[in-house]
Symmetry: C2
Subunit: 326 residues, 2 copies
């Protein structure tokens, strides 16, 4: 059997998996994304994650048919470059990820957009398997979207799927992207944290930052939000309520436009908050759905946190069994 | 040469064209849609429009390879039926349009959704010819959308393209569909007329209804709006401003999701108000566009009022030249 590795290169963590031809995960590894330095440091950390994943799987690095990387920023697989990955340190320009990583590991490297590979993973191996068309919604620091139509990922001119920047409220809240009324302005973890900080400055009481400090975090992570919700923290509840309403409206808009069979909710917050919140998003979607007699199926990402890395591994074609004639 | 006829079955008018294999319009005919009776009366009017179009083209009915009909409601081409065409009189149930019309005219009949055929017409023969992916926006009584991706119409599970019911304002205005905050609640001619009537009841002064009466209309048609805008009527200007803003936001949302190459604006209001208003919609779209360094092309429907009928004719495959060997 040939093996393939996949890496989900995120703003906070680098997740690697090693997978066999059948899509079985043999080993994995996770490490924090460097917060200083530049692309070369990040790629070195990616290489280290792959080596650890390979060790965890108990296989040899040489047995890999290739490494797939799902990356933020503008990804050009043909050129092997990632450009303007603004969540990663010092990555304003273009960097030859495939060349540098391939040389370091001595295996072929393929690149693709992080949200796209996570969507394909759910389509091929996760909650999307029963469907030919689906919308993946990755609810995290931002809100990304991936679209599968008739069994094929739809890229548009390269940047389709920006569901987080669909307008849900004309003249509404300022989004981290600088525009107004985007869904992400209400639902993105980043926007929610910024709002929480403003509210606290204005005197609102909340457990959110206490939980954050207790956990040794500097950000309101998905885990921090989840804990605050469990405690019934009013600010956390109201921020998440707004997020759910905005997600429901944008997803309904996308379904009204595309009429896909299924909506799969993943991402840091989506995975952490799980089915009860996917159900709340579904209920928030229904009142805006035009063909409400035939709503799409709504579910959570079955591959959870590993979806991005698994999807990245799928960039490497499944090899022939070693015993096959050549 | 084989000829084909196409009919755009609208709520106010029935437009027929007769077209040759090359897409050239040989003749046309227009008549008002019956406002009383039921599906049988409407189909009789469609048959009359086809006969008139054939006469206008100076060809024989027998020379037609077929008749395509673009219809509102739920269209099932395989079954030959149109169901729940609520803009047409007495059409709550299902009616065998293809069978009844085909028997009356003794030619094969094909059916499709009215917005879909208008979109395909622009893609094949109109403003969409340079592009492989586009969004058609038909701004009329309601606002319909058609999507071409990679050269193929995207239907979803049958009802894709409902751009008029994308949410542009959470908690916003009531839409004729009953939901809140839909783009059509601001931009649809029907919603604008309802709002104008309420404003007049509340004492707002406007020329809109005077122009309507002078023209012998009972509705604020596209022509009535166009005339009121020329006169600088304040209510007309403010209604159209709101419509342009809502259209810009919903189109930006759709482009953020799909990243199509082009947006083509047609429909009664789109065609009547033309390029200056398409340019205003484009300017309203830009501030909400995520990939604003690479906006889609925005233009008006080149086939104008005839697009729906031409697209319906395209449902009939181009025949072989008569002199071709069989």
């Amino acid at each position: 059997m040939a093996r393939r590795a996949g890496v989900d290169l995120g703003g906070t963590k680098i997740q690697a998996v090693v997978m066999d031809d059948g899509g079985q995960v043999l080993g994995s590894s996770r490490q924090p994304t460097p917060t200083t330095g530049g692309p070369r440091d990040v790629v070195a950390a990616v290489a280290a994650a792959v080596r650890e994943g390979v060790a965890d799987a108990g296989v040899a690095l040489e047995s890999l048919a290739g490494v797939g990387v799902g990356s933020p920023g503008d990804v050009d697989d043909r050129a092997g470059t990632v450009t303007s990955a603004r969540n990663l340190p010092g990555w304003d320009g273009s960097f030859p990820v495939a060349g540098v990583l391939g040389e370091e590991l001595e295996v072929p490297v393929s690149l693709a957009n992080d949200v796209d590979v996570a969507t394909v993973a759910e389509y091929e191996l996760g909650s999307g398997r029963p469907y030919a068309s689906l919308l993946g919604v990755f609810w995290g620091t931002g809100v990304g979207g991936g679209i599968v139509l008739d069994g094929k990922l739809w890229h548009g001119r390269a940047s389709a799927g920006e569901i987080g920047h669909m307008v849900v409220k004309l003249g509404g809240a300022r989004c981290p992207c600088g525009r107004k009324g985007c869904m992400e302005a209400y639902a993105g973890r980043g926007a929610m944290e910024a709002r929480a900080r403003r509210e606290v400055e204005d005197g609102t009481r909340t457990e959110l930052f206490k939980i954050m400090h207790k956990r040794g975090r500097t950000r309101l992570t998905s885990g921090v939000f989840a804990r605050a919700l469990e405690q019934g923290d009013e600010l956390a509840v109201s921020l998440i309520d707004r997020a759910v309403e905005a997600l429901g409206a944008a997803i309904a808009s996308a379904v009204n436009l595309l009429d896909v069979e299924a909506v799969i909710i993943g991402g840091g917050l989506g995975v952490r908050l799980g089915t009860p919140y996917a159900e709340r998003i579904e209920r928030a979607m229904l009142p805006h759905l035009f063909s409400d007699y035939r709503p799409p199926a709504v579910g959570t990402a079955a591959l959870g946190d590993l979806g991005g890395a698994i999807g990245a591994a799928l960039l490497i074609p499944a090899g022939r069994p070693a015993q096959a004639p050549t």
